[in-house]
């Protein structure tokens, strides 16, 4: 057991806050896109069902946004409180995207406020829809900016370190470091895909619970099609990320694949266990697939962990995080694929129970993939906080009370998690879609 010193506790607290924040942040990035699509369809096809979808999603969104905002505020301050030495360097080199992010927040917050309270205030509905554009730009831009900061931690550049002082600073180079393109692409596509899946899961559950109206059917089809498109994007971006790792951060890929010897035609390992001599057992082996993942050719040379000093190896359990993420990634393509196939082929019924259950499971699974992906990315960076420059162990605060802070925040997140679920359930139970439809758009059409 590692001892619970300040470094360990700071890592735990940072990890806990981020794992909690990313749930709401992912929703915050993706749901505005889905709301925008639904509202647009509602206007284009003059179909009030889609408009109602947009309205109801937006209403639930007010709750998750609030939790996203407060947890984001927490992690923003915690970075300075727990990693002061890191932030001192970061402030000199990578403050620019952090600063830009606050403008993105302003933009998002202002237009979200306007959007939520102006449903019936504009003469033309399309004006209201236009408000979704700055919201999407704001939230996706905030994901972009914060991800560049994280990318910088993985492949720092744009400065020189001379006697512990940062010189020759180039903020633009720091922001557009080698990790930025793949990371940003993967983070944004996976947020869209996950949000689409979460909404699809909600629709599937209400369908399974016996609410089999037009509303649920339309919701399912719309979210499933979106989920398929975004999941394909996520898989593509994941593939690009792996190629990035092979080139710029090979130890992270090697740790994920238990790949010790540098070689051509490397095999891809799925699951399995590692014995005390670092021999892999019970794994599914796909010949040469790792080489393909790393460089689009079956004889790409893949650098192994043994090329790195022992004390710079990331923990090897990240293998499971990587595998779980990829497995869920396949699932997220397969399930919507089957759904759409059954929908297109006339004699099949896509609303069958097993498939709906699979969709329902997809929501939580997608969110888990986000968590696994981040844990892999973050733990796989160990022992570095700034790869090649500063180790995590040298960056933590010397202040007292990290353990107490951890306990306080753990309680806070627990309460927030419970209340979020309770409040959301209450909100939608009290006001079912059919009833709201009748009330807004009159008789007859619902059901």
């Amino acid at each position: 057991m590692p001892e619970l010193d300040n470094v360990m506790l700071s890592r735990m607290l940072t990890g806990m806050t981020l794992i909690f924040h990313i749930i709401f942040a992912t929703i915050g990035v993706g749901i505005p896109v889905m709301i925008s699509i639904a509202e647009f369809l509602g206007i284009r096809r003059k179909d009030p069902y889609y408009t109602l979808l947009a309205r109801r999603w937006a209403r639930g969104f007010t709750i998750t946004v609030a939790v996203g905002v407060v947890t984001g505020t927490i992690i923003g301050m915690q970075l300075s409180m727990l990693w002061p030495s890191f932030m001192r360097v970061a402030g000199q080199v990578i403050a620019l995207p952090l600063f830009m992010e606050t403008f993105a927040f302003f933009f998002e917050a202002i237009f979200l406020g306007i959007y939520l309270y102006t449903w019936d205030r504009f003469k033309k509905p399309i004006y209201h829809w236009l408000l979704t554009i700055p919201i999407m730009i704001g939230s996706s831009a905030s994901a972009l900016f914060i991800t560049t900061v994280n990318a910088f931690m993985n492949t720092p550049q744009g400065f020189d370190l001379v006697d512990g002082k940062t010189v020759n600073i180039d903020p633009i180079a720091a922001m557009f470091n080698p990790a930025t393109p793949s990371k940003v692409f993967h983070v944004i596509t996976s947020a869209y895909a996950t949000s689409a899946f979460v909404l699809a899961a909600i629709a599937a559950v209400s369908y399974l619970l016996g609410r089999r109206g037009v509303y649920q059917a339309k919701a399912l089809r719309l979210t499933i099609v979106s989920a398929l498109i975004f999941s394909l994007g996520t898989a593509l971006a994941g593939d690009i990320s792996a190629k990035f790792l092979a080139e710029h951060q090979p130890e992270k890929l090697a740790a994920a694949e238990w790949h010790f010897e540098t070689e051509k035609g490397a095999d891809l390992l799925l699951y399995g266990i590692l014995d005390e001599n670092n021999e892999v057992k019970h794994a599914i082996r796909i010949p040469k697939a790792l080489s393909f993942l790393a460089g689009n050719s079956f004889d790409t040379e893949v650098i192994g962990l043994n090329d790195f000093p022992e004390d710079e190896h990331p923990p090897l359990w990240v293998h499971y995080m990587f595998d779980l993420m990829v497995t869920i990634g396949m699932y997220m393509v397969a399930v919507p694929g089957i759904f759409i196939l059954m929908w297109r082929v006339k004699k099949w019924n896509e609303f069958n129970k097993p498939l709906l259950w699979a969709v329902a499971a997809g929501g939580p699974l997608a969110m888990l993939a986000i968590e696994f992906g981040w844990i892999y990315a973050e733990v796989g960076r160990q022992p570095w906080i700034l790869r090649g420059y500063m180790k995590v162990a040298d960056a933590a605060t010397h202040g007292e009370g990290v353990g107490l802070a951890f306990a306080l925040f753990a309680i806070l997140y627990l309460i927030l998690a419970i209340l979020t679920v309770v409040v959301l359930l209450k909100m939608f139970k009290r006001n079912p879609a059919e009833a709201e439809f009748e009330e807004r758009y009159g008789e007859g059409t619902a059901k």
Binding site: M81, M87, E101, F106, F409
Partner: protein
């Protein structure tokens, strides 16, 4: 203007912005809770919620802007405060989190839940109290550097007369600013009953505000004489502040020009806040950190300023749109939209 002065001015302006918008929000939470307790909630709470609902998230961004900005412009400050203020900072954060999320839970979820409302109201007073202690700490005497560590002297803080007078000022100012704004808002809504209640709030918090300000001066003299002397050099700013206080109170007392009265309140705090700030310089944290020594490297500083200016071009029109729709649209305020 040199980069350090420019940086601190930008940050101070945003902190001033936060002071105003957050005070309105914090005080409103307290009044909403108080309204519920005294059975006046049907008079004022709908009005309050009509203003707060669309803007609370924007209020929070002002705060985020400030602490991200300070890491960017003055990275060493973040280092000192970060190390020293883990526990007090965490408590302030938890209060902020409880407040923000419970507002959403209460307002969009379970309407009129008294516990949500209580937490929302009481955190509205506790947060300004805890945030204001950061300013107190920047006056010096509460941080100690030894062996490369920065230590926070909590006992000194809790037993300091100066520190408590700052807390007092923070709380009464929040209530005063908030009441002044809501009186104006109620007037726009032509809601005579609510205006009457809020106007009384505003007037009854005016005396305490000015007394608490005087108390600050007296205790600052004892706590940090250098700063006190410096403040006297800017006496005219404090005099202007006092002048605008009288203008605001007079107008509200005479039941006229509530809009002008609120602008006067803003000016009152503008002059006091900037008088305080400018006499605090060059120190950010007395006596450890000055703006000249801790300012970020010029390349980053310039980049931040460029982004800031570009950002304002986005921000100002958007804020104006927000205000036009929710502050100056009489129909909306009256609840007809």
């Amino acid at each position: 203007m040199s980069l350090d002065v420019l940086g601190i001015t930008v940050l101070w302006i945003f902190l001033y912005g936060y002071l105003i918008v957050a005070s309105i929000d914090f005080g409103a939470g307290f009044f909403a809770f108080y309204g519920k307790l005294t059975g006046k909630d049907h008079i004022i709470n709908a009005l309050i919620s009509r203003y707060l609902s669309p803007v609370w998230e924007v209020t929070n961004v002002f705060f985020v802007f400030f602490f991200v900005g300070i890491v960017g412009f003055f990275p060493d400050t973040a280092y000192y405060f970060g190390t020293a203020l883990l526990i007090p900072g965490s408590i302030a954060l938890i209060l902020l989190a409880v407040r923000g999320s419970f507002y959403a839970f209460g307002n969009y979820g379970s309407k009129d839940n008294i516990i949500f409302l209580f937490l929302y109201g009481s955190t509205g007073l506790l947060i300004p109290a805890s945030l204001s202690t950061v300013l107190t700490i920047s006056e010096g005497g509460f941080l100690e550097e030894s062996g490369g560590k920065v230590i926070f002297l909590a006992k000194e803080l809790f037993s300091s007369f100066y520190s408590w007078s700052v807390v007092l000022l923070a709380i009464v100012s929040v209530l005063f600013i908030s009441a002044a704004f809501l009186t104006y808002y109620a007037d726009r809504a032509a809601d005579v009953e609510a205006r009457g209640v809020l106007r009384k709030f505003m007037l009854s918090w005016s005396g305490p505000t000015i007394l608490a300000s005087l108390l600050i001066f007296i205790s600052l003299k004892g706590h940090n004489p250098v700063h006190f002397e410096n403040a006297l050099n800017y006496w005219w700013m404090f005099a202007l502040s006092l002048f605008f206080f009288f203008v605001a109170t007079y107008l509200v007392y005479r039941k006229r020009n509530y809009g002008t009265a609120f602008i006067a309140v803003m000016l009152q705090f503008f002059f006091a806040f900037f008088g305080y700030g400018v006499s605090h310089l060059p120190y950010i944290i007395y006596p450890f950190i000055t703006i000249q020594e801790s300012v970020v490297n010029p390349t980053m500083g310039t980049a931040l300023v460029i982004v800031f200016i570009a950002g304002l071009f986005l921000l100002i029109p958007s804020l104006l749109l927000l205000m036009k729709l929710f502050l100056f649209d009489a129909e909306y305020i009256k609840g007809k939209k």
